[in-house]
Symmetry: C2
C-alpha cells in the first residue's frame, strides 16, 4: 500500500426533504451572500429551485442566481459567474443540479478568488483557495458532491479538462434520492455507468496488497449491479435510488482509492468523445471501458479474474484465468446493454473517421502516454477506439 | 434507508514515517500550545514519543506532557488533564497511543471547555465544544482516530460509559502501520476483534434496503478475515498491518453505518466484563458477540445467513437457512479462536457468579432495555452471559 492522505470534510445531509435545509447549512458554513448556480428546465419545473430559495429566505440569506449550465459545462458561463460573484460580493456558491452544475460552481469558486485566468487550474495549477461551495444534488453520477475535482469544457477547441484541490470539496452536500426519481432512464443509466467507472479507474492498479480498497471498490460495484436494474424497471423505487446515490458519493470521494495508484486513462479517452459529440459522459464511458479492459487485460489477468469472480459472480477457471477475466468483461458489456447504454461507436453515434482527430486532441504526440495501469501511447488509444467501433 | 447526516472531517495521514509530520499538522490545524497525552512504556521505549517531540520542536510548537493513560482509561487522569490544560493554556491535545490515549484526550478536550463536571458528557450530554485533538495511532482497534466517540471508566463503581459529538472528531490522525508491528499477538488480535465488532454492531439492523452499507460492512470484514491471520503469523507484515489499520478507521467513522439503525448492545454487555476484570475490550467482545448472535439469531435468520454466505463463504442451505446462519456464527468462533482470542468466560477468566452483579450494573432494572436489533431486558442479558460461560 502506498502512503496517502485522505481528507473528505464535506458535511453530507442525506434523505427525503433534505433540500429544505439548504438555507440552514449555508448559514452554518458561513455563507452571507449566495450565488445559486443551476442548469435549467427541470430544476425550475420541478419546483426544486423554489424550495431552495424559500429555504434561503427563511434563514434571511440574500442570494442571486445564475442558471444555464449545460451538460459538459462550458468555460463561457464560468467567466460570467466569476464576474458576477466579484460584482455582487458573493461568498458562497450553492450548486443545484448534477455534476455539471457542481463542476461549474467549483470553477467559479476557484476563479473568483484568483487574479489570473481560471483556466490555469484546468491546465494543471492546483486549486488552493476558493469560495465555499455547497450542493443540492439531483443526479447520482459524477460524485462531484463529495470530491475535490471539477471538469470544464473550453469552447475554443472543445477542450475538456479537469482541475482539483482540497479547496474544491463542497462544505456541505444535500442528497435527496427523491430528486433523482424524475430522471429519464437513459440519464439514470449513464449516471450509474459513471459511478461504476469511477470505481474501475481506481480498481485497476499496479499497487500490491490493497485488499481493503479492493473490497470497498467491489462493495460499490456489487451495490450498483443489484440496484441499477431496479431503478430502470421502476424509476420511483426510492430505496434503490438511495443506495445508488450514496454509492455515487462513496465511489468518488476517494475512500475506495487511497493508498493505490489509479489509472484514469479511460476518462481521458472518453472526454474526447463527449467533447466532440456532446454525448453523456456515462454513455461514452460505457463505450470506452469494455474496450480499454479488453486492450489491457493481459497486463494483469488475475486482477481481471478477481473482478469477474468477486463482482460478477463468475466461476474461476483455474486452468485458464484469462477465460474468467474475459467473461467478466463480457458480463460488464451485457450489464451496460441491459440498462440501455450504448457499448460501441455505432450505438453512441460516434464515427470511425473522427478517431485520428480525437487521438490528436489528447495531445500525446509521438512519445507521451496516459494512464498508469498500462501507460498508453497515442497508438494504443487509437486501437482502443477501434476496439470500440 | 433512514435519513442521515455524515461528517468525517478528520485529515488522515497514512503510511511509513508519517509520525514525523505531527508538528506540521498541529501547526496547520492551529495548535499553539500542545498537551501530548499517552500511556506509558512502549511509546517511550520505542522512541516514538521522542520522534513526535522532535517534530513539534522543529515547528517551534511548545508542548507539555501527560502520560499514564491506562487501558480502559480512567476519569482520575482526565480530571488531572483538564486542570493541566487550563493552567497551562493548552489549545491542542495530541494523543499518542491507541484508543485509550485518544479517548482520554477527547475527554480532557471536552472537559477543558466546560464549566461543569466532564462526566456529564458520559451520562448523555452531547459534546458541542472541545479543544482540538490530533492523534498518532499505535494500535488498530478502537477506531477512535476517526470517530466522535470516547469511552471512559469512572473509578467510583468502575462505571464504563461513552460520550459523543462532532466536536470530538480528531482534526487530524496520523496512522503509521509500522508502529503496530511491535504489538504482542494477543493485543493485535483483540484490536482486530474490536474492529470486526464495530462492523457487527452496524450490520445487525432492522432497517430494510441498505445494500450499500451492507456491502461496505462486508468489505471490512472480508479484509479482516484475510489479513488478521497474516499478522498473527508474521507480526512484521507491513502490508497486512496497513490493510487492518485502514479497515479499523473505516469500521468506525460511521461510513459503513449511515442510514440504518445500529445495535450496540454487545458493546454495552462487554463493557461490564472489561470494567470488572480489566480485560482487553476486544477479548471481551470475542466472548460476548458469538453469544449475542446465537441468542438473537432467530429474530432475522436471513440476515445471519447473508453474513455467513457473503463473508464466511458458507454455502447457502436454501431448505434450512437457519443452518447456514448457525454455520456463520460457528465460523466466527473458530476464527476468533484461531487468532488466539478467548470465546467464553472460562478462557477470559470471568466468573459465572459475577453475572448478577454485571447485569445489575447495566442499570436496566425491571423494565429497561438495551440494543435495537433486539431490545434486550436484563433477563435477556443474563442469558447471553450464560451462553458465553
Amino acid at each position: 500500500m502506498n502512503n496517502f492522505t485522505f481528507y473528505s470534510p464535506t458535511y453530507f445531509v442525506f434523505g427525503k426533504d433534505t433540500e429544505k435545509e439548504a438555507g440552514h447549512y449555508v448559514k452554518r458554513f458561513g455563507g452571507s451572500k449566495v450565488l445559486i448556480h443551476y442548469g435549467g428546465g427541470s430544476v425550475v419545473r420541478s419546483g426544486l429551485l423554489d424550495r431552495v430559495k424559500n429555504s434561503l429566505q427563511q434563514e434571511s440569506v440574500p442570494f442571486i442566481e445564475l442558471g444555464g449550465v449545460q451538460p459538459n459545462p462550458r468555460s463561457g458561463l464560468v467567466y460570467q459567474g466569476i464576474e458576477l460573484c466579484r460584482k455582487e460580493g458573493v461568498d458562497f456558491i450553492l450548486a443545484v443540479g448534477g455534476g455539471s452544475a457542481i463542476d461549474s460552481a467549483k470553477a467559479i469558486a476557484a476563479g473568483a478568488r484568483y487574479e489570473g485566468d481560471f483556466w490555469d487550474f484546468y491546465e494543471g495549477k492546483p486549486v488552493t483557495d476558493a469560495l465555499k461551495v455547497g450542493t443540492v444534488l439531483t443526479i447520482a453520477a459524477a460524485g462531484s458532491e463529495g470530491s475535490g475535482d471539477s471538469v470544464i469544457t473550453k469552447e475554443e477547441g472543445m477542450l475538456k479538462r479537469g482541475a482539483g484541490g482540497e479547496a474544491l470539496r463542497p462544505v456541505f452536500s444535500i442528497l435527496n434520492p427523491e430528486l433523482t426519481q424524475t430522471l429519464p432512464a437513459y440519464q439514470t443509466a449513464a449516471g450509474a455507468t459513471d459511478i461504476m467507472a469511477h470505481v474501475f479507474e481506481r480498481y485497476f492498479t499496479n499497487t500490491k496488497e490493497v485488499e481493503i480498497t479492493d473490497r470497498l471498490c467491489e462493495a460499490v460495484l456489487l451495490t450498483m449491479i443489484k440496484e441499477v436494474p431496479r431503478v430502470i424497471a421502476d424509476p420511483n423505487n426510492y430505496e434503490a435510488r438511495a443506495n445508488i446515490m450514496w454509492a455515487g458519493m462513496v465511489a468518488h470521494n476517494n475512500l475506495v482509492g487511497v493508498g493505490r495508484d489509479q489509472d484514469w486513462s479511460s476518462h481521458g479517452i472518453e472526454h474526447e468523445l463527449s467533447a466532440l459529440y456532446d454525448v453523456a459522459h456515462g454513455a461514452g464511458l460505457a463505450v470506452i471501458f469494455p474496450a480499454w479492459m479488453t486492450y489491457v487485460m493481459k497486463h494483469d489477468v488475475n486482477r481481471f479474474a478477481q473482478l469477474a469472480v468477486r463482482v460478477w459472480g463468475c466461476q474461476m477457471n483455474f486452468m485458464n484465468p484469462e477465460e474468467t477475466a474475459l467473461e467478466g468483461i463480457e458480463r460488464l458489456k451485457q450489464f451496460l446493454s441491459s440498462i440501455g447504454m450504448p457499448i460501441n461507436f455505432r450505438e453512441l453515434g460516434a464515427k470511425e473517421e473522427d478517431i485520428p482527430l480525437m487521438v490528436e486532441k489528447l495531445g500525446l504526440g509521438e512519445t507521451g502516454t496516459m494512464g498508469n495501469f498500462v501507460k498508453l501511447t497515442g497508438k494504443d488509444v487509437e486501437q482502443i477506439y477501434r476496439l470500440a467501433l
